[in-house]
Symmetry: C2
Subunit: 458 residues, 2 copies
């Protein structure tokens, strides 16, 4: 069996060897096998094509298509759903080296970029013109725009500015057979034809490979104000977040962390958040009336909070934002982490936290929770010992329970990380068989041979 597999892999590699960027180097293959989900396939992919240009991607897909070889698109490999995971028999098309910012138009507030450029690099380039790119995953420094588009990534600023879909005006995409399609446009509005742009955004590499994106940038706010509030328990913090929504205030950031997560951050960073409460809410407002709007937030959360701390200056504000950004890295020091991603209606946040505590108690799995609270998007993080499995056993049972909790509260399986490989079994339950059937029909219309990221997303 092992020999047979090895020779099949050699055949795939031989078939792709016509491509100047193809490599069957074992290290490259092992590195391209998975992402940051914690899932590792039993076997690595057969070959990795490290593309440096649009032509490289076109050639890779032409070759693969002619031979019916399955292709896994890969960006920076920071995904949390094993969307970029690849195993034996598969060809990885890695676009991380296509990482140029092709142009920035500061007047029109548009950037044209290659897919492999890191999210943070786009933001750094935009900042030179007083602009920013709104969808800012916590992984901004390590994830690529192509991966962001493929997962419709979100982040802190999405509370006010929407997710990736709201910031991508147009795409160039290589289809399964190597043809190049343009979607969207460079104007803000436009309704000619179906919204293929939105169809590709969030399609997790199953419909095409993004080789260029036209991004909408936004003016950096003239003024930003920040506060933190601490609570006796996470339900109170959830209620405070819902109270902000109910008070009709529009924070630009509204992030929540529970007590265990605060303790983990303190341990890793030497801070002392946990002493101040068993849950933490970070709120930011921006715009000409940011200070007035922040006062309203302080008023709305006060009845639920132990204490409220408006940041006195930029340094204090930065320290509060950093605490939130430190959450995942801090937990990763405690063990193996599986990052959940459910979303619920905004006024069900407290119920979601209560449900997660109950799941943790019942399954015996440790769950740490943070949330993009303004959008009702929770990241319950399961932490197991380094030697335990994160994709099987109790961790997997807890993941399934989280999904059912989200469903019960009128929510969804994944707010921003995607379905990938790891959440596929719940998709039909959420969407219904008919929706899945239609999605397959659309997939078949665009990729009749089914070579693009098979077994992922739908």
């Amino acid at each position: 069996m092992r020999n047979e597999n090895a020779s099949r892999a050699a055949t795939t590699a031989a078939l792709m060897s016509a491509h100047p960027r193809a490599t069957a180097d074992p290290e490259a293959r092992a590195a391209a096998a998975t992402d940051r989900s914690g899932y590792v396939p039993a076997t690595p992919p057969d070959v990795v094509v490290r593309c440096e240009s649009a032509e490289d991607v076109v050639d890779a897909l032409r070759l693969a298509h002619a031979r019916g070889l399955p292709v896994v698109p890969r960006g920076a490999g920071t995904g949390l759903a094993a969307g970029a995971s690849a195993h034996e028999g598969q060809v990885v098309v890695d676009v991380s080296r296509m990482n140029r910012i092709l142009s920035i138009d500061p007047v029109e507030m548009i950037a044209v970029v290659e897919p492999g450029v890191l999210n943070a690099d786009v933001n750094a380039a935009a900042a030179e013109h007083g602009l920013f790119y709104a969808p800012d995953p916590a992984s901004t420094a390590i994830c690529s725009i192509g991966g962001n588009i493929a997962t419709n990534a979100g982040g802190m600023w999405c509370a006010k500015y929407g997710v990736t879909r709201e910031s991508v005006l147009g795409l160039r995409v290589v289809l399964a057979d190597g043809r190049v399609l343009r979607t969207g446009r460079t104007t803000i509005k436009g309704v000619t034809g179906y919204d293929l742009n939105a169809l590709f955004i969030g399609s997790e590499g199953t419909l095409g490979i993004v080789i260029e994106a036209t991004l909408r940038l936004r003016p950096r706010p003239v003024r930003t104000e920040t506060l933190a509030a601490y609570f006796a328990d996470v339900e109170s913090a959830g209620r405070a977040a819902s109270a902000i929504t109910a008070a009709r205030i529009q924070p630009s950031i509204l992030e929540l962390m529970d007590g265990p997560t605060l303790a983990a951050v303190d341990l890793a960073e030497g801070t002392r958040h946990r002493e101040l409460g068993a849950a933490f809410l970070l709120a930011q407002t921006d715009g000409y009336g940011a200070h007035l709007e922040l006062d309203e937030i302080a008023r709305a959360v006060a009845p639920f909070a132990m204490s409220v701390h408006p940041a006195a200056d930029d340094d204090e504000a930065a320290a509060l934002v950093k605490a939130r950004r430190d959450a995942i890295p801090s937990l990763e020091k405690l063990g193996r982490v599986s990052i959940g991603d459910i979303a619920v209606p905004r006024n069900r946040l407290a119920d979601a936290f209560a449900g997660l505590e109950e799941i943790s108690a019942r399954t015996g799995v440790r769950i740490f929770s943070i949330a993009h609270a303004a959008d009702g998007n929770l990241h319950p993080m399961i932490v197991v010992e380094p030697q335990e499995s994160i994709t099987e056993g109790p961790a997997k049972i807890a993941l399934g329970e989280m999904f059912h909790l989200a469903q019960r509260l009128g929510g969804t399986l994944t707010g921003e990380h995607g379905v990938g490989l790891l959440k596929r079994e719940w998709v039909a339950e959420e969407l219904g068989e008919m929706s899945v059937e239609l999605q397959r029909a659309i997939k078949a219309a665009l990729d009749p041979a089914g070579i693009l990221n098979p077994g992922k997303a739908i």
Copy 2:
């Protein structure tokens, strides 16, 4: 021939007569033949099904599908692209009587509505809870939410809050064969599966009939400020609008009218705008810092303007907004109007106006122009004598020239009204053959028999 047609029509009507809401009444058929585009087909549709419930729509599509009869979905019939136009051999499925607001959740800020409800009625109901529905076409009092969704309608507030797509969370849609599909969700975020919601939004009734929509409402701004500015010519006003964008200010409304339109409004309404200048810019800001942001707008437009008039109170502000809302009705008093809908990059507005003046001079067709200036979306309005054709001859030539002007400036054929029947011939030129081919493949995946709104949109 006439007899043959008449008997074919009778056959269709007979086939649909099993439906309790079907009527072959000549008046009903004539009324359902077209919309507000000015286009009138040579023959009316054979039968109109006036649906009162989801079941009525399902039954209508089942009947039509079984017999292969082409179906034209119809809302309020205010469309400007003849998308709802129907001719002999076709069945109109009219959902305008399905006009209930099913629920409003003021805490979650969500409304669930039937498709036939008027845009203004949703806004009136939302206002009772201190909320509003952002996409507000100038036709708000007469157009339906289903039609808004089918065209991805825009309006004045879209400058800040985005178009229909940004305010529709979920849909219930009847597919061509009568099956009912749910798209989207009730949470703000979610990435399970492809974005079928966005696929249906703007699909102009070619993929399914919307029978229910879950709409995102927003808090009414705590504060709104308004100003008007007058200019010596429309290019100056265009430059002022681009200067606002370039100054990184986010108006909630930014509307432009040219001199001829101002004169038409004055004539119809007894106002005196044209005396103050040959172009008009209306700007509104909202939020906690609205007054501060309006000052910035005044500063940005001053170098281009003859005069700048901040509204002293709500009445003054309402009068300025009304002037803009009066534009189309005022022009309709001058003759037959064809309303264009091109969009260009935001800093090409002045070039677009110059180009329109040139087209008017060259073709001898009168063109009046207004624009959603913050989004670069222009409505050049061709006005001909009541007895002249609006869809043939010089008017049509001018329409084609407008489209090519938009293309030259990097823009698009239609910003918010849709392609319908009248703009189909330019679609392939804008999107490319391959994109059109893919769209047809998607259409075929959802409507294999091709019965839904054939010959429209793509």
